[in-house]
């Protein structure tokens, strides 16, 4: 056997070894991703292993729902049994509609909330021209000052949904501009709320809303 053929054989062997290592690395990473990381981090469970190992509950616990900096000061004021609406939940107060726009400078924040009775509902949708951090939360009536319960806390440019007030009090959003540009946040909603309240650096400003 010549030196050249030994060399070529050695190279072929080395190539096979490297290809095997790369493929093996990708395979192991893929399996770990599907079996553990996706269920635990995002609650996505393609193989069912997340449920089996209890990893999906980790994702739910990690999801930003529990109160942030402002919350968890003092105990909840009343027992907070969840509102379980049926297919139809009759409402007694007049239906209202609201559409508001806020201009936010760089890193500026604003808060806008609706006064709602326990069990009252609304559907909402908001969009922003830039990325914002938002916290959809409520302050139950009679709660200690600064107490808040978060319903959804995240970052993004839009969100929408339907909401049933778990307590009587004020419920709404805090938006904070995360960019260095001026942005606008536009909120549209329809629901069984009494009025809107705007909280900004300039203080509190009530929004009287006409009946639909």
């Amino acid at each position: 056997m010549t030196d050249e053929t030994t060399g070529r054989l050695a190279l072929a062997e080395q190539r096979a070894r490297i290809a095997l290592a790369a493929a093996g690395a990708m395979l192991v990473a893929g399996v770990l991703l599907m079996a553990a990381v996706l269920p635990a981090e995002y609650g996505v469970d393609p193989l069912g292993t997340g449920k089996l190992l209890g990893l999906t509950s980790l994702a739910q616990a990690n999801a930003p729902t529990g109160g942030g900096g402002t919350a968890a000061e003092g105990p909840p004021p009343e027992s907070l049994e969840p509102v379980r609406p049926g297919a139809n939940t009759a409402q007694t107060i007049p239906l209202k509609q609201d559409s508001v726009t806020f201009k936010l400078g760089p890193f500026e924040g604003i808060e806008y909330k609706y006064r709602m009775e326990k069990g009252a509902s609304m559907v909402y949708s908001w969009t922003s021209t830039g990325k914002v951090r938002f916290d959809f939360h409520g302050e139950p009536q009679g709660a200690p000052k600064g107490y808040a319960e978060s319903y959804e806390m995240s970052e993004g440019q839009k969100a929408s949904g339907s909401f049933f007030a778990p307590t009587s009090g004020i419920h709404g959003w805090f938006w904070e501009n995360l960019s260095t540009d001026d942005i606008t946040v536009t909120l549209t909603s329809t629901g069984f709320y009494a009025s809107g309240i705007e909280f900004s650096a300039d203080g509190q400003k009530p929004h009287e809303l006409p009946n639909r």
């Binding site: 490297i18 290592a21 790369a22 690395a25 990708m26 990473a29 991703l33 990381v37 995002y42």
Partner: protein, 235 residues
């Protein structure tokens, strides 16, 4: 001090460092919630806290650490270690400062996926993948510099997640950057001690192939983790 005693001390130290790193991993990468709410309460320049946050981010940042381990894995001379680490530092400092000050908002998921890819790249390079398959090796110094740029964008997105006030912005970013370098030096010291000791062992070269394959596995996992995060976020 007898050699066996020294070895025991060294091993003990390494275990402690490993535990500290694991603790950081458990906290999830990024800036922890408690730190975040603290930073949001800061108005004006705060050198100390930002130095600390930068260092903490680096020491607990497994993606940056995996890449650095890959980079210095086969560097035996201190001169080379310093050269490559400097290139990495220049790269990530440029984009960290430029990204935050210039208001460049990169997508955190995609940047972190590229950082994962940099780990795969380094592992593949270390098992001689480029030479064997393509008969050609991209310039290793240039690669470290370019991937350094991406790591810097990653650091920038982490800082941008915090609502930084304009007041004292430059001081705070520079402090964070200096903290990153301090954390990097601290982590590198321990990695180098571990590697240097390991190289004196007979099994080093035999295990080097496997270790770099594991490095690639970690990199692929980071890529998958971040890309699926990206896809779920745009849905």
């Amino acid at each position: 001090m007898p050699a066996s005693r020294r070895r025991q001390l060294l091993l003990g130290g390494l275990v402690l460092v490993a535990l500290a790193l694991l603790d950081g991993v458990a906290e999830a990468h990024g800036v922890s919630r408690r730190d975040a709410s603290f930073v949001e309460s800061i108005r004006g320049a705060a050198i100390g806290p930002f130095l600390y946050l930068g260092a903490k981010h680096m020491v607990t940042g497994y993606d940056h650490l995996l890449f650095l381990i890959g980079v210095i894995f086969f560097l035996y001379r201190l001169k080379d270690v310093l050269l490559y680490v400097s290139l990495f530092t220049v790269g990530h400092s440029l984009t960290l400062l430029g990204g935050v000050l210039g208001g460049i908002h990169a997508n955190a998921y995609l940047i972190d996926a590229i950082i994962g890819l940099s780990v795969v790249y380094k592992g593949f390079e270390n098992i001689n993948g480029f030479q064997s398959f393509f008969g050609w090796q991209p310039n290793t110094r240039l690669a470290v510099l370019v991937f350094g740029l991406f790591h810097g964008f990653g650091l920038a997105t982490k800082l941008q997640e915090l609502a930084l006030t304009q007041d004292g912005l430059v001081t705070n970013i520079v402090s964070f950057n200096v903290g990153v370098e301090m954390g990097q030096m601290l982590a590198l010291t321990f990695v180098l001690i571990g590697l240097t000791w390991w190289r004196t062992r007979p099994g080093f070269l035999r295990h080097a192939f496997m270790t770099n394959t594991l490095l690639m596995t970690g990199g692929f996992l980071l890529v998958g983790y971040q890309l699926s995060g990206y896809m779920l976020s745009v849905q």
